[in-house]
């Protein structure tokens, strides 16, 4: 079974802090994704990566950056946390290339509160 593990289930931080969210997958997937999920707005893509050290902006990248130094690990960074970044953050991974129409598999999410 595919396993996508997010380092924290719940996180509370203060405005202005630099926040790191970590995600690890064990399926040797090329693609990794970061989403945020908010009531009434659904799932929105922040950033994705299709290879080590490669990244692409999603629909809402402002205020975020990412890092992918190893194939299995994808980090989301909030450079200076603000209260409007309070949300549920979901990491996902999938194959690319010929198998890119295979499903994305999700972690259990990190519920982040910025005070």
């Amino acid at each position: 079974d595919v396993k996508v593990t997010q380092s924290s289930r719940y996180l509370v931080k203060r405005t202005g802090e630099k926040v790191f969210l970590e995600c690890v997958q064990d399926m040797d997937h090329e693609n990794m994704f970061w989403y945020r999920q908010d009531p009434g707005l659904g799932l929105r893509l922040i950033y994705f990566s299709y290879d080590v050290k490669m990244k692409e902006k999603g629909d809402i990248p402002e205020g975020y950056s990412v890092s992918r130094e190893k194939k299995e690990r994808f980090s989301l960074i909030l450079e200076s946390a603000s209260t409007n970044q309070t949300s549920m953050y979901l990491c996902a991974s999938s194959f690319s290339g010929t198998y890119s129409n295979q499903p994305q598999h999700f972690g259990d999410g990190t519920r982040l509160s910025i005070l």
């Binding site: 996508v4 893509l45 979901l90 890119s100 972690g107 259990d108």
Partner: protein
């Protein structure tokens, strides 16, 4: 622009009362349509992928179907443990490889 609309937003059923959830989509070339189940406080769990109109997939009490404009998730004789939010997402043909999600249908099954 790819769009996905799910209806209804919320659905209350009695245990054993069958029904269907709808996912209408517009996409510039469908590469795949995905159904997920999401329990409160958890990430989406993959259920089905459908690739072409006329295709059907089944898993226990769930059956997903696909036409050129919409997909249905039929729930036969649901049980309380089927209560969850069901998400639909579409993937367009390359180069755009990302998923576009609908807003979800929150299903509540009462015993």
């Amino acid at each position: 622009e790819d769009q996905v609309t799910q209806s209804p937003e919320a659905l209350r059923l009695q245990e054993g009362e069958s029904s269907s959830l709808n996912c209408s989509y517009t996409v510039s070339g469908l590469r795949g349509l995905f159904w997920y189940r999401q329990d409160p406080g958890k990430g989406p769990e993959f259920l089905f992928t459908l690739y072409s109109a006329g295709e059907e997939k089944e898993k226990e009490r769930l059956k997903a179907t696909l036409t050129k404009k919409e997909s249905f998730l039929h729930i036969t004789a649901p049980k309380p443990e089927d209560s969850a939010t069901y998400l639909c997402a579409v993937q367009a043909n390359p180069p755009r490889n990302m998923l576009t999600f609908g807003g979800g249908t929150r299903l509540m099954v009462k015993p």
